[in-house]
Each structure stands twice: as C-alpha cells, then as structure tokens.
C-alpha cells in the first residue's frame, strides 16, 4: 500500500485500476521512395482523406440532429475526436483544408516528383503553411495555424495508424494516470465510464479540470511520485482530500466503498429534486441560477431545470490561448446559449481578467499587488477595443433570449457610468448598421468591492440589478488573501463587518426594487441560506453541482419564522456572536422533516 499526494481540485471518490497513458509523439519517416511506391503513397493519401471526411460528415450530421438519439449514440461510440459542442464552423474549415485542390496538387507533386514518402510530404507542406500563417503576425491568421496543425496531426495519426484516441486504452472503471489531458478528451473518458483521473500537471482552473468537475469525475492534479503507480494497481482517488491510495488493504477499500455508496445514495435522493421548484416551507419561490465557465456546461444546466444562468464567466475566451477572440466567435457562443435557455435568464459577466487570471496574449506590467491592480472593469475601460468587441457580441446575441450584462469589480458610480457609456457607443454602432439588439438589455453591477457596497444606493439607482460576489467582497473587506494559508483563518464569512456590507447592498437593491442575487460561495453555504432569504434575497446562483442540494435545503426553510429575529444581527459584535445568531436563526427556520414529496 502506498499513498500519493496531489492537489484537491474536485470532490468524490473513485476506485479502479490504474491505467498509465503516454502522450503520442509524432515522428516522421524521412526516407525517399522508389518510383514503384508512388502510386501506393498517393493511394494512401486519398484514402486517408476520404476516411476523415466521412467521419466529419457523420459528425456534422449528428450535430444537426441532436434530437436524433440513435445517430448521436452512433457517433458517440465512434470515437469521434471532437465532442458535439464544438463549433461547427471549425469542422467545416477542417473539411475545406482536407479537400483543398492546391493541397492535393502539392502533396502529389512532392510524392511523384520529389519522391518524398507521404509522411514527409505532409510534414513539408504543413510546416510551410503553419510557419507562413504564424509569420503574418496577425492574430486572425495565427488561429488558422492552429487549424492546420490540428488537421496535420489527424492525418498523420491516421496514416501511421496511431490511435488518435487515448480513450481506446481506457476501460470502464479505470483510473487514468497521465501528464495532462486535452479538454476534448474528458468527455469521451466520461462516456467510457472512467472512475477517476490523476494528472501530473494541470491546475485548478484548466479547462479539462473544469469539465471533469462539471461531469462529476473525481480528479486530482499535481500528483507527486507518480512513478510508484504501476498499470493495474488498484487506486483509490480521494479527490476531496487530494490523495491517492495505491493497492489498499481490503479494510480501506471497504471503508471507501461505504463512503462512495453514501455519496451515490445522496445523489439519487437529490435527483428527485430536479423536477420540483425551490419553494420554501412558507411558499416563497426562490430562483436558482447556475454559474458556468464553459459553454458546454449549458446542456447539464438544462437537465437540472434551473431558472437560468446567473453568472457566465467569459474569461475562457481570453485565457489558454494565443490570440483575442473575434466578435463573431463570441457572438456565436452567446447566441447558442441564449437560444438554448429560451425564456430563462442569461447573465453574462464582462471580462474579469487581471488579478490572478492573466491571459497569454496579454503581458501586463508586473503588478506588486494584482488583486488591487488593473482587473475587471478597470481592465475593460483601459482596453476599450477588447471591451467593445465583447459588448457588441453580447448585444447582437441579446435578441435570442433573456440576456443581461453584468460589470465586474465596480468600485464607484463613475466606473459604472463610464462602462454604460461604452455600451451606449456600441448600441449606436449597431443602430447605424440596422443590426437588431435588445434596446432594454438589463445592466447589472457586481457588488464585490466594499466601496461599492457602501455606495450601493447610488449604484442601485443606476443599475438594473445587483449580483453580490461574496468571495471578493469578503476578501476585500477583511484584507485577507484567502489563498494565503497562514492567514486563511481571518477569512471568515461570519465577520460582522462583511455581513453588514452585504446587508447594506441587499437593502439598497430592495429600496430601488432591483433584483439582487448572491453568486459567491456564500450562496452555497447552507448555514447562511436562511439568513439570506430572511434578508429578502430571492435569487441565488451556484455551480451546477450544488443546485439540487441547495434546492433541497431551501425547501426546508420557513422564512416567516425567522424574520422577527432578524434584527438581532445588529447586536452581533464578534464573529462568535454572529455564529450564535446564525445558528439560532437556522434552528428557528429549518424543518428537516419536510420531504421533497410534499410540494
């Protein structure tokens, strides 16, 4: 038995056999061919192109008929490399690249005249092409280099008969051990019924990790001493505690199996809450929204039957890539989500890079204190072209659903007004071109800086809604970086000062009859739910994995019973006082006996 530690980035327990996966490196054979081999090489070229094209066509077919389960199922089982949420136009482009007459001509010339073998011919052609696009120094074309590289790898793998798909090595119930995993591979792993993933690299915010979390796959990153793991070892992934137990004793396996059963049992109970509303015991309807980071999460949300998206973090457009997203790319994503949500609310937060989230294409002057630096709306107002591109895309998508815009890191009314003016300029541009958008698109303020909470009345007057980002509001109120372990204990949501600020923002919104939602971690802290509802909060937005648990909890709360005691919060002087107050409030309001069958 051995234990390996990593970084906890998800929850859950996975028990299965270790499967160590190696990344594929593509080597190219450089040998020239004999005249007799020319035909054979050209044949192989044509056949490989044909195979890939038919895979693509089938994929596009499935993309268009998502209602048609059979086709979708068929595709799913065919190890199609890309998942169905991928932008169709990229696939169309791949098809064009493969069918390009000039490309065919050149490859055939390399083979028949220069006697290159097919691999070398492809290598020569694509290297030349990719270099050309990269050297244009234009981000729009640099993106094409990525497409060409993708097509090249796909073709070469087909020719070398290398399995393009890591998931083929995986069997149901395996634990995959690898350096890092491409985002497109997580979903196929899930479909294969993987028990867990252990990565040597990967961070909490990498796309693959986000996807794994959303799919409920236990995942650990940054594992050390992975050489201890051998294929077929029995591994327990204890994702919550960030550790892996290798070849455990029977007692330990049983212990974890019981834990796993409990988790599954809870999940089953919760799934009964999908169809019913988040109504409190005294019949107040609470709206539950989801926070999402990646567009593909939308399907999961529709399944959960929530009231929409309360926070769409748009940073994925800007991080993990070398170039800026075009307006049309963003527009297509917003449009796709808005259409799927229909009449459900869709709140898009504008770029919140800076702070700890820094994009590749953007190398800002190094800041001594990035959390107090150029982030959120400050970044947008200093980079208006980037900001406007996003606003134009959102506005254009606003005709397809209940889209609303939210500005992050607003510290003062001046910034909010300036941001609104930029939005107005964008609206004017669209009006001039007769492009439709929702003239009355709601504009909200994210309350996450103490000054915004203190001045929340004036902000409420000018905003259409508030969303309280409790994590940042708390961190800025108590001046504690919560990632700093030595002082993390000072980061305490029971801080009376923090709660006063939050209450102030809620009351301001109420005063001007503007909707207010909670979108930080406090929204998912069940200890605080009754308190928030008593204060008048009727909208909460949390990660999709927390929705059902929160719904179950809300249904056990009786708000009316708590309201008479609410003013006792004013007497709380210390963290201890607040804890006692919240506990008492919960005892008064919460009825654990209310089951989900009673509607």
């Amino acid at each position: 038995m051995y234990t390996i530690h990593g970084i906890a980035v998800s929850t859950g327990i996975g028990i299965g056999k270790a499967r160590i996966l190696k990344e594929v490196t593509l080597s190219v054979s450089k040998e020239d061919i004999n005249p007799s081999e020319i035909e054979q090489n050209i044949d192989l070229f044509n056949k490989s192109i044909q195979t890939i094209i038919s895979e693509i066509d089938e994929f596009i077919g499935a993309y268009h008929s998502r209602g048609d389960k059979k086709t979708a199922e068929k595709i799913k089982n065919q190890n199609t490399k890309k998942n169905l949420t991928e932008d169709e136009s990229i696939i169309e482009t791949h098809k064009m690249i493969l069918l390009d007459p000039e490309f065919h001509k050149e490859i055939k010339r390399y083979i028949s005249e220069e006697r290159m073998n097919l691999e070398k011919a492809l290598y020569t052609h694509f290297t030349k092409t990719i270099d050309y696009f990269n050297n244009l120094n234009n981000e729009l074309y640099a993106d094409r280099a990525v497409d060409y590289d993708d097509v090249y790898r796909r073709l070469l793998m087909r020719i070398k008969k290398i399995d393009t798909n890591l998931q083929d090595e995986i069997e149901e119930g395996d634990v995959a051990v690898l350096d890092d995993i491409p985002p497109s591979m997580v979903s196929p792993f899930h479909k294969k019924g993987i028990a867990g993933i252990a990565l040597r690299r990967g961070t909490k915010t990498s796309h693959s990790v986000i996807i794994a979390r959303a799919l409920g796959i236990p995942i650990i990153t940054g594992i050390k001493h992975s050489h201890k793991i051998h294929n077929e070892d029995v591994l327990i992934i204890d994702a919550k505690n960030g550790k892996i137990i290798g070849n455990p004793t029977t007692e330990i396996i049983v212990e974890y199996q019981i834990l796993e059963d409990q988790i599954n049992h809870e999940k089953n109970i919760l799934s009964g809450f999908k169809e019913i509303s988040a109504t409190t015991a005294d019949c107040e309807l609470i709206q539950l929204f989801t926070n999402i980071e990646l567009p593909f999460e939308i399907d999961n949300i529709l399944d959960l039957n929530t009231d929409g998206i309360g926070l769409f973090r748009t940073e994925f457009f800007y991080l993990d890539r070398k170039n800026l997203p075009e307006e049309v790319e963003q527009y297509e994503v917003y449009k796709m989500i808005a259409k799927k949500l229909g009449d459900k609310q869709f709140t898009i937060r504008t770029i919140d890079i800076g702070g700890d989230k820094v994009a590749n294409w953007f190398s800002p002057p190094k800041e001594e204190n990035p959390y107090l630096g150029c982030r959120g709306i400050r970044f947008s107002l200093k980079n208006k072209t980037i900001f406007k591109t996003q606003l134009l895309a959102i506005l254009r998508a606003s005709v397809y659903g209940k889209v609303q815009i939210m500005f992050p890191m607003i510290a003062s009314i001046e910034e909010f007004i300036e941001a609104k003016e930029v939005l107005e300029e964008c609206k004017n541009e669209l009006r001039k071109k007769n492009i439709d958008f929702n003239e009355a698109i709601p504009i909200g303020t994210m309350i996450e800086i103490p000054s915004a909470a203190i001045n929340s009345e004036i902000l409420a007057k000018h905003s259409d809604f508030f969303s309280i980002g409790t994590n940042d509001l708390l961190q800025y109120t108590v001046a504690v970086d919560r990632n700093n372990e030595t002082i993390a204990n000072y980061y305490n949501p029971y801080s009376p000062a923090f709660l006063q600020l939050m209450m102030r923002a809620i009351l301001s919104a109420k005063k001007y009859q503007k909707p207010v939602s909670i979108c930080g971690e406090l929204g998912n802290d069940h200890n605080f739910t009754a308190f928030l509802l008593c204060l008048g909060v009727r909208e909460i937005s949390v990660g999709s994995q927390h929705i059902l648990g929160l719904k179950k909890h809300i249904r056990s709360i009786n708000i009316m019973k708590g309201i008479p005691f609410l003013e006792d919060i004013q007497k709380c002087e210390t963290i201890k006082d607040t804890e006692l107050f919240i506990n008492r409030l919960n005892n008064i309001c919460i009825h654990n006996t209310r089951t989900f069958l009673v509607t």
Partner: protein, 88 residues
C-alpha cells in the same frame, strides 16, 4: 474569360470565415477561378490559397473567371465580397 477588380470592404479583411464562404461559393461552379493580389496569384477554390493572400481591409483584388459558367460565378463571388460576407 472574365476579369473584375474589387476592393475588400469588410473591416477584418479576408480572415477565416470570409475565406471559407468564398471558397465554398466558388466550389459550386465549374469555371476556373483565380485571384490576384499585387504579385500573388492563387486558386480561388483553395482555402489555403485564399488565406495566404491575407487580404486586409482595402486590399485590391483582381478576380479572373474562366469556364462555362463564368458569368454566374463572377456575379456570385462579387456579390459575396461586396456584401462584406454579412459582416461589417
């Protein structure tokens, strides 16, 4: 053979999406279709060729069509470029 000089009018130039649309449209005709920009000449039915032009906003392109359906082809392609590919 038909020739026509045209200016790229969409702001972002012939980036990926317009190139795809152009090549897709050109592929529907039997006529040969060449595009000239300064000293470069490319096959208008080749996505690689058209993208290699890297034609930006304001670039001057000479379109050359040759074949049985050259008139129809020219009309379609010119319309597409003049409509800015549905962009601004």
């Amino acid at each position: 053979m038909l020739k026509k000089v045209i200016i790229v009018q969409n702001k972002l130039g012939l980036h990926a999406r317009p190139c795809s649309l152009l090549v897709k449209a050109a592929g529907k005709f039997r006529s040969e279709f060449q595009i000239r920009k300064e000293k470069m000449e490319v096959n208008g039915k080749s996505i690689l060729g058209v993208m290699m032009l890297a034609a930006e906003y304001g670039s001057e392109l000479e379109l050359v069509f040759d074949g049985v359906d050259e008139e129809e082809a020219m009309e379609t392609i010119v319309n597409l470029i003049e409509s800015c590919f549905g962009e601004e």
